[in-house]
């Protein structure tokens, strides 16, 4: 049972790190970026591609993956999402078109990875990979990769929460989510902020990609597809825009999945996870822990 708790914590960590990135772009800029899964995968692919050719330390691989994913997301913002926002007449139209655009962007990344890998699994080359060790704590065994995921999964939302709630940058971010026009009048630069936001969102996808690739040994070009659906479920459970909600949503989802896996032969995991999602959507469509927004009356 203790080992299963550790497994669940690792799953929570994976969902938190991945979902926070998607939540950032969705909650702040109304961009439901379904290329987030492709970006996650491409970070792992970048690590694979470079380490096939040259041996570099794992830290460099991680930074490479994070930077690759961040830059890609900025490119999507400049070439796809921003032009769509400018040309759309309503917010709803913009959101739909950005969603479609993100699917296309993600498909391009998947196609590139497929072509280069012949659709075979790919991982960081041995010489550059993190030297994963097993640590035994009584009845529990945890690898260094799993420990890293859990620790980052705890520290990241704390750090982001402090940034968003206490730092000037965070206040500006919350402001543009609410009213970008007024922000501009107040001297905030929404264009620059949106770039920084997308950079951060992509970087989180990249961090998740490198960590998961290290944890499970290899990714495939389709590895992001399942995670994007789980992240979507986490955010809908949580309520869009809420960092605390993402942590709690990830905990609920990961715990439910682990309980189902422990209690049954595992075939019902996805069915029960998404049944929970449907129930929440029916009973509390704003999510269990929505971000609080105020309206001036």
């Amino acid at each position: 049972m203790e080992q299963q708790i550790v497994n669940a914590l690792v799953l929570v960590g994976i969902y938190v790190i991945f979902s926070l990135g998607l939540n950032l772009s969705w909650g702040t800029l109304n961009v439901l970026n379904l290329a987030h899964g492709g970006t996650f995968m491409f970070a792992g692919f970048a690590g694979f591609y470079v380490t096939q050719k040259v041996e570099i330390p794992f830290v460099a691989v991680a930074l490479l993956g994070i930077a690759t994913a961040g830059v890609l997301t900025v490119i999507f913002e400049l070439l796809i999402f921003r032009p769509i926002r400018r040309r759309s007449s309503t917010l709803q139209q913009a959101e739909l078109l950005m969603l479609i655009g993100s699917i296309g962007a993600g498909s391009v990344l998947i196609a590139l990875a497929r072509k280069e890998t012949d659709d075979a699994p790919f991982g960081i080359a041995k010489g550059s990979a993190l030297n994963v060790k097993n640590l035994d704590f009584g009845p529990v065994t945890i690898t260094t990769a799993q420990l890293l995921i859990i620790v980052i999964g705890v520290l990241l939302p704390v750090g982001m929460s402090l940034l968003v709630n206490r730092a000037r940058f965070g206040r500006a971010l919350r402001a543009i989510a609410y009213d970008p026009e007024t922000c501009e009048l107040m001297g905030v630069r929404p264009g620059l902020l949106s770039l920084v936001t997308m950079l951060g969102s992509g970087a989180l996808a990249g961090l998740a990609g490198v960590l998961v690739s290290t944890h499970i040994g290899a990714l495939t070009a389709q590895s992001g597809d399942t995670l994007i659906m789980k992240a979507f479920a986490v955010i809908v459970l949580a309520g869009v825009g809420s960092i605390v909600g993402v942590v709690l949503g990830a905990t609920i989802l990961a715990s439910a999945e682990t309980i189902v896996l422990v209690s049954t032969d595992g075939g019902w995991v996805d069915a029960i996870s998404f049944a929970m999602l449907i129930i929440v959507l029916l009973l509390r469509p704003q999510g269990l822990f929505p971000a609080v927004k105020a309206d001036r009356v």
């Binding site: 497994n7 012949d118 991982g123 040994g217 070009a221 389709q222 590895s223 399942t226 032969d265 595992g266």
Partner: protein
Amino acid sequence: MIAIAQRMARVGAVGALASALVLSACGSESSDEAGDGGGLPDTVTLKASVSLSGLAGPGGQPTQKGMEVAIEEINDSKFLGSTTLKLDITDSKTDPKVGASAMAQHAASDTPVAIGSSAGAVALAEATVAQRQGLPLIFPQAGSKGVLETGDHIYRTTPLQTSYFHKTLEYLQTEGVKRAAVIYDSDNPTIQALNDLFQSGASKYGYEVVSTQATTSNTVDVSSQVTKMLNAKPDAIFVDVLQAHNVQVIKQLRQAGYDGLIVAQQGAAGGTLKPIAEDAEGVVFTNDFNPGSDNEGTKHFTELYQKKFDELPGNFAAEGYDTIWFAARAIKDADSVDRDKVLASMATVGEAGFVGALGELKIVDRQAVITTPVLVRLDNTAAEIPVE
């Protein structure tokens, strides 16, 4: 009167000549001149729907390579006389909808016989379309129940894994395995069938199934399933998952501290486990092909493949090769690109059997049968070494 009769005779002669020309044009198999094979046109194009991407992509890519080797050999050796055989592949993306759509297009083309995808779910969709359209269809792999049962136009040139999986279970018995666990992808019919055999073989081969864990082929983290299996303290674990998924499952088994015996199935073949070669060392499974085998057909194919691609072939390439050769043999036997004639010849050629990359291959009731499956063990480079 005589002038009118003469005019009518001239018109009649011209008309008869014109009719003869029209009829001869309609009677020929294509607009090209017939080749030396008698009823064959100058070019015959085989249409194929192969999963080059998606979860079955790692198998589809080498299948294509094997097919290309066969096409080249057939043309170079003038097996079909002066007729050139061409191959036109559509990527079915391991997606039944894409496969079915591709097969509909192939059925509307002039291909005498088509090649289908290897993944069971895609194959089922393609077989339904082909049977309905009267298109003979040959599958490499696609071992799911229901594929051949779709109808008499459907053939499979790969022996079913279930027909030789017993060698793996015999190995468990030889190794003295008493407690065995299994993790399997519940969303794949072929894999389910192998799991069923594993479960039902317990008493015959002397082991107890102490843990059975289901997952799905797109599940990234299987830590919980791994923990449950290891808690049951098995002597051996059967990893019964779809190709690329083997990497993640075996990696997580080793990371969890399991260093016991792992047996797998053909999904682990073809270099799939190269990214985790050291962790995969010692994994055992039965395959229908091994380049180190000493049967003549295997040696011949291996030589041609190495010459073209500068690497050793795996089972998927061998199966692709045999599939094309079976199609070519049927077309030659029929001496026609008429689908009904080719279909009849497929039965004849299959029954007679031939020597292919998989060794001696016969097709009984539209299903390939071989007598030489190979039990292999992976070394630390993920190369498949026959187990003595």
